[in-house]
Structures are given as C-alpha cells and as structure tokens.
Amino acid sequence: MSTAAPPASPPEAPVPAPRPRDWRRTFDRFGDLLLIAICAGAALLAVAALLAIGYQVVHGAAPSISKFGLGFVFHTNWQPNPPFEDFGAGTLLFGTVVSSFFALLVGAPIAIAIGLFLSLLAPKGVSSIISPLVEMLAAIPSVILGFWGIIVLAPFVQRDAEPFLHDTLGFIPIFGEPQTTGASVFTASLILTIMVIPIIASISRDLFLSVPQDIQDGASALGATRWEVVRGVVLPSTASGVIAASLLGLGRALGEAIAVTQVIGAGSEINASLFKTGDTLAGRIANQFPGAITELHQASLFYLGVILLIIGVASNLCAQWIGRRFDVSQRGATR
C-alpha cells in the first residue's frame, strides 16, 4: 500500500510532504487497522461464543456428571422424583438414534431423487418454481409442523398407516401392534423426514448441477440412458457430497426438539415397535426442563444436552470433512 510514497532520491534531504496529505495517510492507515480489528473481533466473538456454548452446557451438567459419571449414557432409568432421583440417557439415546435413522432412511432417497429431478430432469421454468417450494418446506416452523403432526398426521397414522403396515409387514417386529393414540416414534420419524428432505434435496441439487455437462454428454454419446448417466457419472462424482448432505440432515433430525416432543408421546421405555411411544434427548430436554424438579434433575437434562452436543458436532464435523474432500476433487475435475 506504500505505492503512493514519493520516490525520494537518496542524497537529498527528504522533502516534507504537504501537511493535509500526510494527515490523511495516517488517518487512512488508522482506519484500515481499525476496520480489520473490528472485523477480526467479530470473528473472534463467534469462535468465543461457540466455545462458551460448550463450556456452559458442560458446566450446567457438572453435578450430574460427577454423580453418575459415564454410566449415565447407557443407563435406562429416568426417575426425577426426589426419593429416587435416578437418571440415565439410554432410552433417550435409543429413541434419538431410531427416529433419526428412520427419518434419514426414508428421507435421503426421496431427497436425492428430488435433487436429481430439479437439476437434471425438470425444465428450467419448472425447477425454478419447485426449488423454492421445496426449500419453503424447511421454512415451516417446527412448532407448527409438530402441531400439525398432533392434529392431522397422528390420527391418519393411527387409523390408516399403522394398521396397514402392521398387517402387511407385521412379521418384522418394528411394525408392532398399533396403539390407541397416534403419538409414536413412527409419527415423530415422519415429521423428521419432512424436515430432513428439503435440506438434503437443496444441497444435492446444487451438487448435481455442478457436474460438468460434457462428461454427461459423453456418457449419453456412448449410448447410456438417462438413468445410466445418473448412475454411472452423476452419482459417483458427487457421492461424498451427497453423503455429507445426508449427515447434515441427520444433524438436523437429531437435534429437533419441539416437533418431536409434541408427537412422540414422551414414553420412557425401549420398545422394538416403532408404533409405541418413546422419547429423544432433545425432546426430553424441551419437555421437562421448564418444570425441572430438583437441581440434579436440571443438571441431568444439561447432561443430555452434552450428549446431544457431542453427537451433533461429531456428525457436523464428519459432514464437513467428507464434503471438503469432495470439494478438492471437484476443483480438480472442473479444471
């Protein structure tokens, strides 16, 4: 930035620059430094906030961590009432994993199909209308989706979907006897599926759009059908990105609290059947935290938060790591 300095010839004494210019230059240098410092400060603040979140959640859980130790994670009892005060995350961990896994199992293929439709099949006009609509699905607040789940989806699930699945696939234990209310792990999984789809669909659409047209044309010219182009060129070259997108969707499903707590029925047992009630880590926190009875109860809910935080950050880091590798190979491919 010193290009504006006058080319002073060495033997002569340096001529002092005109006063106002000099003042302005120091002012500018000061301005540069100040702006960089403020911007860097903002960035540091974000890093500090993230660290503070981790610290605060662990700090809140401290009484429970020191009382129950690591055994808490797989212990399946949850008795908040004062004489017992026994807490364990096992049931909730199970519910979280099952509901999120199911949501991903159903949601990811549908979302990837949507991504393919939007990027490769649909005419531009159609996809420019449907893309925002799919993303709009993610904009519906979870509390409204959960409320809709109680009133509209749960009765349908209880009346039609569960009996149908039980009758046709009842030999698999996960499709057990339908219950009297529609509040079940299954209903929660369906709500989570609806939440996961727009996330995975919009990321995979962008990934598929980034596949160079000429290698797709090359495959077509060799006689590949449209599906074979997708199967042989588009999916393999974006596979890691699609996996990363699915992991991001998984992170969303794991951490969803409100909608899940509305429809899952707050059960406290591990059931093989999806049609029974259950609960998740996030759902239990949302449900019991406002009315936590004792200090230890509250600390145990914080402990659930710690577990949730670790799972969430881990799935996110995995996604970033896998996605980064994708980026590198992409840059190599498009050059």
Binding site: C39, L121, V134, I144, R252, G255, P290, G312, A319
Partner: protein, 294 residues
C-alpha cells in the same frame, strides 16, 4: 472382409429391442420416480399450509390480531417482533463484519478455514442447545427476559447472515476494488463506500431470510421467554414477553378445542409472515444475483 456381419440387415428399422428396451424402460421408471418424489414434497407443503389456512382462517379477526390473551394474540405478535428485532440488531452487524473479514481481509488460509468451520458448526447446533446455553448464561439466577431470548435467536441468525453476506460479497466485481485501489483509495474506504453499498441489497435479503428462520424458533424460547402474561402488551425487554411460537406450543399442549383454534390462528399468522418474508427475499435475491453476475 467385404461381407456384412452375420445377422446385420441394413433394412431393419432402428427401433430399440430386447436389452435396450429394458434399459430405457428402467430409465423412464427412474425419471418417473424422481418426478413423483418432487411432487410429493410439494404436496406435503401444500397439505401443511392448507391445514393451517383452513383451520386458522376461522380464528382470524381484528380482535384476534389486536387483543390480549383470551380473545387474541396481539401481545404475542408485538412480542415476537420485539424479540426478533433485538436479535437482528445483535446478529446483523456481527454477521456482516465476519463476512467482511472473510471476504476482504483474509482470502484463504487457516484462520479463514477455522472461522468458516465455526460458522458451520454454529449453524448445525441444535437450537435447544443454544437455549440451554443462554439459560445458563443469562436466565439462571436471574429471570427470563426478552433480551435472553434475543441473544439465543441471534446465535441462530449469525451464521445465516454471515454466510449469506459472504456469498453476496464474493459477487462484487473485482474490478470495483481494483478501480478504487488504482485511485489510491485506502482499503477501509473502499470497503465501506464501494464494496459494502454494492452488496447491501444481498445482505439485507439474507438478513430477512435469517429473520424468517428465527421468528419460528421455539426451543430456545421455552427456556428464556416462556413465563409471561399473554393478556397484556409488554415491551419491556428485561422481562419475559409474550411471543407467537411459545404461545402455539403451549396451546397445542392444552388439548381443548378453543385452544387448538387459537393455536391454528397463531400458526396462520406466523406462517403467513414467514412465507411472505422468505419468498419475497428469495425473489429479490435471485434478481440481484442475476444482475450482478451479468
């Protein structure tokens, strides 16, 4: 050498047969599947929105929008506006500054990578964790307050605003910066008077999108602003003030028909506001993006 291969008859027509027909049928099947998936997603959106509109429209009236608790949700509408407004005041400057830092002052390198990772992790945090954090930081030992709720929402908005602004700043033509450099304009003046104004539209729209996301967040609010008097208007940000998401949550747990009607009405108000903001912002963003990249 001069014979044509056995079984090749140049006179046959070139319609696919056997294997090729099967492959094409499979391909068509896959195309249909993808189309059905997209239609299903849009159908789910319409079913949800339809339910909300049909059941919520009956609750809507001027009283519902302006009066307090038993009749309406006026205080909650105002309260959500206040909470989200304060959250925007916190998150927008910080988010834009982070975006400026990343796009103008550190193009690449480890620091930028670390900050981007921080933003990604923050974006992926379950919102209920953010609620726990703010509860421990601001509510525990004090009382619930709109400020605490705003801080929680600002943590949700921050990565969205930062990333959105970064994308827009990346679209500002390099020529503008070079022209400013060539005129001897210092860096900070370039950033504040050339780069930022030309990206302002995009920054505002990505902020609106973040607002649309934050306005519906419930999980952080039940720890920070859930014990309130929903009958009267309250603008004091040091107290828990009524807000729409928690109102819907509480009404949905009540299991009485009147409560459900009010919950549907509140949902309609919230969904309408969010859809309006978010579709509008998207449209503006798409237009400005195509204009800038031209």
């Amino acid at each position: 050498m001069t014979e044509t291969p056995a079984g090749f008859d140049p006179a046959t027509d070139l319609t696919p047969s056997g294997n090729l027909r099967r492959r094409q049928a499979f391909s068509r099947l896959a195309e249909t599947g993808a189309t059905v998936a997209a239609v299903a997603a849009v159908a789910v959106l319409f079913i949800v929105v339809y339910s909300v509109v049909v059941r919520g429209a009956g609750a809507l009236s001027l009283d519902f929008l302006t009066k307090g608790a038993p009749d309406g949700i006026g205080p909650a509408i105002v309260g959500t506006t206040v909470i989200v407004g304060i959250a925007t005041l916190i998150a927008m400057p910080i988010g834009v500054l982070i975006a400026l830092y990343l796009s103008e002052f550190t193009r690449s390198g480890r620091v930028a990578g670390a900050i981007k990772l921080t933003l990604d992790l923050m974006n992926g945090l379950p919102s209920i964790i953010i609620g726990l954090f703010v509860f421990g930081l601001l509510v525990y030992g004090h009382q619930q307050s709109a400020i605490a709720a705003s801080v929680a929402l600002s943590i949700i908005m921050l990565p969205l605003i930062a990333r959105g602004s970064m994308e827009v700043l990346a679209l500002v033509p390099e020529g503008l910066r070079e022209a400013a450099d060539a005129l001897g304009v210092s860096r900070w003046r370039t950033v504040l008077t050339v780069v930022l104004p030309s990206a302002l539209g995009g920054i505002v729209t990505s902020t609106v999108l973040a607002v649309a996301r934050a306005a519906g967040e419930t999980a952080p609010l039940i720890f920070t602003a859930s014990v309130f008097d929903s009958a009267r208007y309250n603008l004091n940000p040091t107290e828990a003030i009524p807000n729409i998401p928690v109102t819907i949550f509480q009404l949905s747990e009540e299991a009485s028909p009147e409560a459900f009607t009010r919950a549907w009405g509140s949902s309609l108000v919230l969904v309408a506001a969010i859809m309006f903001a978010s579709l509008g912002a998207r449209a503006v963003l798409a237009r400005s993006r195509s204009r800038m990249s031209r």
